[in-house]
């Protein structure tokens, strides 16, 4: 009798156990994964939300939190965007920023590809020390470097031209890109190049036809980094550019949209929002390459 009574109880216990475990793991997942993830997402995205909301709020809502919900827009407007695009030189700032970022990125990628290939593959005498020296150059803070660079920029007659930025940004972009690409080239099997050597390729042909096509994720990564760093750069742009026309977006919105002690918050936020769009679009196109260059190597 006791056996019979015991067995259904056991069965229940056995069938309940997996459910209990599933519930446990689901709770654990929520607590350990989704809650922290949600916190991160909120903290990261809130500034963008605030920026967007402010950009489309009429001034009446913007300066009166007592009567209007600060987190929401009741009557959205394009006034700030209109003001920015048609009553300031914003399109020109955007164009200058784009020109500087693209040109500096191109120069840096070209120089660092050749440098990284030489250091990693040609293995000349002292190549390791050259690599180290390039890295040390990266450690010099721009806030120190801009003083001697300013002298050079003035002496070369580049002050207040986009070239002042195009030629100085590579000072911090090249070391960074070179190190990133050295790591990436290292992941490409050396046998491929040896095989190409036997197949009759020259060093330049190997670089162009074998190594670079395989290093595309690394190049894209370096390109995205360079583009973003150039786009957001502030201190050189502030120091080397004087005229309103030639300013880049980060400097211009701060110096041109703050008149005296009046902050044109709507236009400031609209400027920031429009200014961050190109980078976001750029990232979204290449996010797969970008992730693979940080996590994976060349697969045969």
């Amino acid at each position: 009798m006791s056996d019979v009574a015991a067995s259904p109880g056991n069965t229940n216990a056995a069938s309940a156990a997996p459910e209990q475990m599933a519930w446990d793991s689901r709770t654990r997942r929520v607590v350990m994964l989704y809650v922290p993830l949600a916190c991160f997402v909120i903290i990261l995205l809130f500034p963008f939300y605030w920026m967007t909301v402010t950009a489309f709020k009429p001034n009446a809502e913007l300066y009166n939190f007592a009567e209007h919900n600060p987190l929401w827009i009741t009557s959205p407007t394009l006034d700030h965007v209109y003001h920015l695009l048609f009553r300031t030189s914003y399109p020109h700032w955007l164009w200058t920023t784009m020109l500087v970022a693209v040109a500096a990125t191109f120069i840096s990628l070209l120089a660092s590809t050749l440098a990284a290939y030489a250091i990693q593959r040609l293995r000349f005498r002292g190549s390791q020390y050259v690599g180290l020296a390039i890295y040390l150059a990266y450690l010099v803070p721009p806030s120190i470097l801009f003083i001697p660079l300013a002298t050079m920029v003035v002496q070369l007659g580049l002050f207040d031209t986009p070239f002042a930025l195009i030629l100085t940004y590579p000072t911090f972009l090249i070391p960074f890109c070179t190190w990133l690409l050295i790591g990436y080239f290292k992941s490409i099997p050396y046998e491929l190049e040896e095989c190409a050597l036997i197949d009759g390729a020259t060093r330049l042909q190997i670089l162009r036809q074998i190594t670079l096509p395989l290093a595309v994720p690394g190049l894209i990564s370096a390109g995205i980094f360079s583009f973003t760093l150039s786009w957001n750069e502030f201190i050189y742009a502030l120091a080397f550019i004087q005229s309103s026309e030639n300013k880049t977006v980060p400097v211009a919105i701060l110096t041109e949209l703050v008149t005296g002690d009046v902050y044109q918050w709507g236009a400031l936020m609209a400027g920031s929002l429009l200014g961050s769009l190109p980078v976001a679009i750029f990232y979204s196109f290449f996010v797969d390459y970008y992730v693979s260059s940080l996590t994976g190597a060349v697969k045969e």
């Binding site: 190409a196 036997i198 045969e300």
Partner: protein
């Protein structure tokens, strides 16, 4: 096709000497296997022939032309690498045509050569695939196809089968051999697997510690190894090598075993070599205790102990004994090898 001469070739990386003066003569159309344990310098020698490593001393000639200072692309060689080194971003067709493209060959000639090589290797259906879409054996074939299309004077293979599973390795072994016989191209093949060396080579070069221990036809090395290293390296299971002394009434091995000697053996310290397959079961043989019995189907390998002397026997008969049982064995005296204290054949 060409002869290859390696004369007194030396190689050092800084103060580390890798090759200490190596001589190899390879006849036109010959299949030569460089074999030896890891780090013996066989791959370095192959890479020096390919031009991928500088030559510290001596000279290498391909087809009578000294190539010490000739870059790899001008040596008229083709090489198959251990991990195949297929270009991952190119299709099979592009991989095979790459060298011809660099040489600016006309498109129709390229296509013709690729088709010919693909037909020889059974790759016709795979020409538009990428290396990542191929199995290990197919990649191996593409690597060979890439070598074939160039009609090189010499094929170089650097452990090409070591990434394949055992069954495929056996199959590819015979395919490579068959291909080499068909094309009659001089071939140098590096492996650490003595079975590959035995089954494929016209000439085996056994290397150890940067020196050549012995070179010759596979069966010559098997039948008359020049020293204990070759004796132990060639043949599977490895030859029993027992240290001891030639004395009256037989060979006294360390550990207590007394083994019969072939006539004319000189007295003194020596190493007694007998291959496991040259031990025979005989009622009048020496009693030996069974340690382990390992049946492989075609033969039975038995670890034995005579006194404290360990021995391995391989018998065609099915040995049914259990550990601790006694087996009576005797060596085939015509196939006993004796080596001096320095390891050289007596």
């Amino acid at each position: 096709m060409a002869t290859v001469s390696v004369r007194q070739v030396r190689k050092s990386f800084g103060s580390t000497k890798i090759l200490h003066g190596v001589d190899v003569e390879i006849a036109d159309g010959e299949f030569v296997v460089l074999v030896g344990p890891s780090g013996c310098g066989k791959s370095t020698l192959l890479r020096m022939i390919a031009g991928l490593e500088n030559i510290t001393g001596g000279e290498i000639a391909i087809g009578g032309r000294v190539v010490n200072a000739v870059p790899p692309k001008d040596r008229d060689i083709a090489m198959v690498f251990q991990n195949y080194a297929l270009y991952p971003h190119m299709t099979v067709r592009e991989n095979m045509a790459f060298s011809m493209k660099l040489a600016k060959a006309p498109a129709d000639v390229m296509e013709q050569e690729v088709q010919r090589a693909a037909k020889i290797l059974g790759l016709e259906a795979l020409l538009d695939r990428y290396p990542r879409q191929l199995s290990g054996g197919q990649r191996q074939r593409v690597a060979m196809g890439r070598a074939i299309v160039r009609h090189p004077q010499v094929f170089l293979f650097d452990e090409p089968l070591s990434n394949l599973d055992a069954k495929l390795r056996v199959q590819m072994r015979s395919e490579i051999r068959e291909l080499q016989q068909r094309l009659a191209t001089t071939t140098i093949y590096v492996t650490h697997d003595q079975i590959e060396a035995m089954t494929m080579a016209d000439q085996i070069v056994v290397m150890n510690g940067g020196r050549i221990e012995q070179s010759g036809a596979p069966l010559a090395l098997y039948d008359r190894p020049a020293n204990t290293f070759v004796a132990g390296f060639i043949g599977s299971p490895a030859m029993n090598l027992l240290r001891g002394e030639v004395a009256d009434g037989g060979f006294r091995a360390e550990g207590g075993a007394i083994l019969p000697l072939p006539p004319g053996a000189h007295r003194g310290a020596a190493t007694y070599g007998i291959r496991p397959e040259h031990l025979v079961l005989a009622d009048d043989g020496i009693p030996a205790a069974i340690v382990i019995v390992e049946p492989t189907g075609s033969e039975t390998q038995v670890s034995l102990r005579i006194g404290e002397t360990p021995l391995i026997g391989a018998f065609r008969e099915r040995v049914a004994g259990r550990p601790g049982d006694t087996l009576r064995i005797k060596p085939d005296l015509s196939l006993v090898h004796l080596f001096g204290p320095d390891g050289a054949r007596l």
